[in-house]
């Protein structure tokens, strides 16, 4: 008897969704439930763990197991879930404040350790739930209640941070670009190990249009590049542009094959195993470069909990250990 396949709707919980009307989180919720259905996931083996923030309300709206924890700690809690039961399929939902400000260290270490989790970073470049303060990804000069004259600290680039931390998977997607988002989520799931997905998420209330520069329909072709392993890094209406290595350097440049002696062959082919390429791709941003979307880096390594639990299993195979033997393990003596 095979379990009936579940639809996206089956992954929707009975709870009323409480994000602001128009919030990008709705689109992400839709894509995630669709992805789960597409993956043939089971409700009982799937767990969503989140911190605190608008994004972190996510688990309530999915019909799987869910744990809405405390601000910034979801990666640490999810690590414990996996060490207790590695068979669970664990998704972590974090806001940019949650995952990169208060929770930055846990994100760092979960990536370094390579715990098998899908980590979804809902990046709206603002603190939503606490009403609009600047976040670690807010652009320089962001005016907010806590930075009335504009923020002065350089934003973190989540992809650069992740690769610096030793992440083995990094991808990007846009909330409302559903097919790509589903594709990227599916790939993150396929990846064994910590898979960080940065999702550009529009906060209509406190940071509306933060990503318009590359997400508005008319600018997508020129200001986004959807990267696919083994395919040339091309973009633009009619894919007129491409990226190549600026000859003799370690940097990329935008070229137009057919112009100035540049040929199609000069255009770099995306290699998702190339960490150096990934590092350059994640730092690209309009207006000079298109924003890279898609699976930027995917190069699996052994996962933390599997290595740990293999060691445990190995030792357990010796049979259920004897408690008495443990207690009497040192030097003993007998009183008659």
């Amino acid at each position: 008897m095979t379990a009936p396949t579940l639809t996206a709707k089956d992954f929707t919980s009975d709870q009323e969704v409480r994000w602001c009307p128009g919030c990008g989180d709705y689109a992400i919720l839709k894509a995630v439930t669709k992805t789960l259905a597409g993956l043939g996931a089971s409700r009982e083996d799937t767990v969503f763990v989140s911190g605190i923030g608008c994004a972190s309300r996510f688990p309530y709206y999915v019909s799987t197991y869910g744990f809405h924890t405390i601000h910034g700690r979801a990666p640490a809690i999810a690590t414990g879930v996996k060490l207790a039961n590695p068979d669970l399929d664990v998704w972590v939902v974090m806001g940019d404040g949650d995952g990169l400000s208060i929770g930055g260290n846990h994100t760092l270490h979960v990536l370094r350790r390579n715990v098998d989790l899908q980590l979804l970073l809902f990046n709206n470049e603002i603190y939503g739930l606490t009403k609009g303060q600047a976040s670690p990804t807010s652009r320089l000069g962001t005016r907010s209640p806590s930075t009335p004259r504009g923020s002065v600290d350089a934003p973190l680039i989540p992809g650069a941070f992740a690769l610096g931390a030793g992440a083995r998977f990094f991808a990007r997607a846009v909330d409302i670009q559903q097919p790509q988002l589903v594709e990227v989520l599916t790939r993150a799931h396929q990846h064994r190990g910590a898979a960080l997905v940065e999702i550009f998420q529009n906060c209509v209330v406190f940071n509306d249009g933060a990503f318009h520069e590359f997400t508005e329909r008319r600018v997508i072709p020129d200001n986004q590049i959807y990267v696919e392993h083994g395919k040339p890094l091309r973009f633009g209406a009619n894919r007129t542009h491409g990226l190549r290595i600026r000859p003799g350097t370690l940097s990329l440049e935008v070229v137009t094959p057919g112009e100035e002696g540049v040929t199609d062959d000069d255009v770099l082919v995306h290699n998702e195993k190339d960490q150096a390429l990934a590092t350059l791709l994640v730092r690209m941003a309009p207006p000079v470069f298109p924003m890279a979307i898609g699976v930027i880096f995917d190069s699996p390594a052994p996962t933390y909990e599997h290595v740990v639990l293999d060691q445990v299993t190995e030792e357990l195979q010796a049979g259920k250990a004897d408690l008495d033997a443990l207690l009497a393990g040192g030097r003993t003596w007998t009183v008659l």
Binding site: E44, F67, H68, A84
Partner: protein, 623 residues
């Protein structure tokens, strides 16, 4: 009375119990020496209690006072409960060890020193302006000044060692002499040396030679002042198989035994190193075969969070730290309180505030255990009293955490973590089981449905079909488990959380006195590692006819149901604590008794004599 050595043979004087301390440089091997003396004493049938005292520095410069490492053993034919107030014997391997330890020797006690190392340079490093072997410093003690360096070098001369290696055998020479002095066997030590240095036989041989030489010296040389060696009889211990065990080991094994008794497969221990809590991590890291997974997290917050995640996923989540690390865990422990997940938090307390004195013991985190979280966030608090008691407390922590779906704070301390005593191995088949039921039945399920008796919510674990649900730190509806902003519901949940913890009182033993009648003139109420000195002090006062009893609390939150009634039977209540008055404050608030605190925060355990004096003072006051 300084004596010089000469050979002879004589009759051994009997002693009931002896306190002996080996002290020397970190590199002098004092911990090993003490441990071996312990083993031989245990095998000879003594009851005993040991306390290692490491320097705060990893490896301080040779000869410095702050680099002195010591190991104390109290052993005897009597019931030994503390590592001893004052030293009967001090072995001081260098001037720094002498200057830092001499004040603990009782007048008339024996001081053994190696004359060869009292060089001007070493004296200066230790801060002596004159040579204490010559200026009368030792006049009120029996001092045994031997050229141990030369004696050791002679003993190992044939072993082809460098002079540094040869000197490393001094500790075994001293051990040999002490084993002779207390009429202990050497064979366990010889066996152990053979194993330890199996790969470098000449080192094994040299150490054994030194050990034997020290022993032979006692046998053959007539020691000054008629020092003839002592006989310490066998203790009257219940029959059975024994081992020595430290509080750390016993707690670790208690947790494992609890895991078994609960019928759970996996204990997930999330921790971050900190003195004096790290040894628990180290011991548990070796227990994979018992279903233990250890996780060294990036910090204490991640450590407790990983344990919470593990409990959420159906394993037993345990975390451990010392005061500063526990402070960091407060917010997350609140999450466990709010989501009502089983969680064990072990605090190996050390002297605070802040970094404080990391290697010194204290009991000053009781308030933090009770209240170190935002909101009304009650949890169970229990404390360990002795190294062997840690085993039972470990089991009890698992029982309470899983039965009541609550965090349990286990308070132990730096003293207990390191101290050791003989342990009659328990009959593990006799450990009562308390099988945990994880919810499987979807009928009528919501995540906060409660057992009407324990008020515990259901433990429904991811992976279970048809029980999918969401929980979190926001307030939950009592009737559905969903988020609820309803005002009355929050009141109800607050009451439920408090009521659940209070209700544990029905499920724990009534409080008994550890010693003495259930009524009297004075109750001395303690908790934690002060057990030994309080017990002994009360015993001593009782011998003098005072109507005083010892009440020792394992359960601090909730208190045992009869505690108020029990304490009401005493005219006075004295609460000695190694803090500035924490349990006494809880007792006063709960029962409105004019309990008096007795505070000691020197990083050292109470002395029996200090407590005896305090008991007398209390009863004179009232006279």
């Amino acid at each position: 009375m300084t004596m010089s050595a000469a050979g002879s043979e004589a009759v051994r004087e009997r002693q009931d119990s002896v306190v002996i301390r080996f002290a020397g440089d970190s590199g002098d091997g004092m911990q090993l020496t003490g441990s071996q003396f312990t083993v031989e004493s245990a095998l000879a049938g003594s009851d005993l209690s040991t306390f290692p005292d490491y320097p705060a520095e990893i490896r301080a410069p040779t000869g410095s006072t702050f680099g002195v490492s010591a190991f104390q053993i109290h052993f005897g034919s009597i019931d030994v409960l503390t590592a001893g107030d004052d030293l009967d014997v001090l072995i001081a391997m260098n001037p720094a060890a002498l200057i830092t330890n001499l004040r603990d020797v009782r007048i008339g006690g024996l001081v053994l020193v190696d004359s060869a190392v009292f060089t001007p340079r070493n004296l200066e490093k230790a801060g002596y302006s004159a040579n204490p072997l010559e200026d009368g410093t030792l006049v009120q003690y029996r001092s045994l000044v031997l050229d141990m360096t030369t004696l050791t070098q002679q003993a190992v001369a044939s072993c082809d060692l460098t002079s540094k290696e040869a000197l490393r055998c001094r500790n075994m020479w001293a051990l040999g002499l002490m084993l002779w002095m207390y009429d202990r066997d050497r064979s366990a030590t010889i066996e152990w040396l053979g194993k330890k240095f199996a790969k470098i036989p000449k080192i094994a041989d040299a150490n054994i030679a030194a050990l034997n030489a020290g022993h032979a010296y006692g046998e053959t040389v007539e020691l000054p002042g008629g020092l003839t060696g002592y006989a310490v009889g066998r203790a009257d211990l219940p029959p059975g198989t024994y081992r020595t065990v430290s509080g750390t080991e016993s707690l670790a094994w208690g947790l494992v035994a609890g895991l078994r008794a609960a019928g759970l497969d996996r204990l997930m221990f999330g921790s971050y190193p900190i003195t004096p809590a790290s040894p628990l991590l180290h011991v548990l890291a070796g227990l994979r075969r018992y279903g233990v997974v250890t996780f060294q997290a990036e910090d204490e917050i991640a450590a407790v969070c990983s344990a919470i995640g593990a409990s959420y996923a159906g394993a037993l989540g345990v975390t451990s730290s010392s005061g500063p690390g526990i402070a960091l865990k407060g917010e997350a422990i609140g999450l466990a309180v709010s989501t009502e997940l089983p969680l064990i938090v072990v605090n190996s307390q050390r002297a605070g505030p802040s970094t404080g004195l990391p290697t010194k013991t204290e009991q000053s985190d009781l308030f933090q255990a009770m209240y170190g979280r935002n909101g009304d966030a009650p949890l169970a608090v229990i404390a360990t009293a002795t190294p062997t008691d840690c085993f039972e407390v470990g089991i009890e922590a698992v029982r309470l955490a899983t039965k009541y779906m609550t965090p349990v704070m286990v308070l132990t301390d730096g003293y207990l973590a390191n101290a050791a005593e003989p342990w009659l191995l328990p009959d593990t088949d006799g450990i009562p089981e308390f099988p945990v039921t994880q919810r499987k039945d979807p009928e009528g399920f919501h995540p906060f449905v409660r057992d009407p008796e324990t008020l515990a919510r259901a433990w429904a674990v991811p992976g279970t079909p048809d029980l999918e649900h969401r929980i979190g730190g926001l307030e939950k509806s009592t009737s559905s488990g969903h988020i609820s902003y309803d005002p009355e519901n929050h009141q109800q949940m607050t009451n439920l959380r408090a009521g659940k913890i209070a209700g544990i009182a029905k499920d724990i033993p009534l409080q008994e006195t550890a010693l003495g009648e259930a009524t009297g003139d004075l109750a001395v109420v303690g908790w934690g590692s002060t057990f030994g000195p309080i017990f002994k002090a009360v015993a001593s006062a009782r011998e003098k006819g005072l109507r005083v009893s010892h009440v020792h609390l394992r359960y601090i939150n909730p208190f045992p149901q009869n505690l108020q009634e029990l304490l009401a039977g005493f005219s006075k209540i004295l609460v000695p604590e190694m803090n500035n008055g924490q349990l006494v404050s809880l007792l006063r608030s709960a029962f409105l008794f004019p309990a008096q605190g007795l505070s000691k925060v020197t990083g050292k355990p109470f002395k029996i004599s200090e407590l005896v004096a305090a008991i007398h003072a209390q009863l004179e006051d009232s006279a």
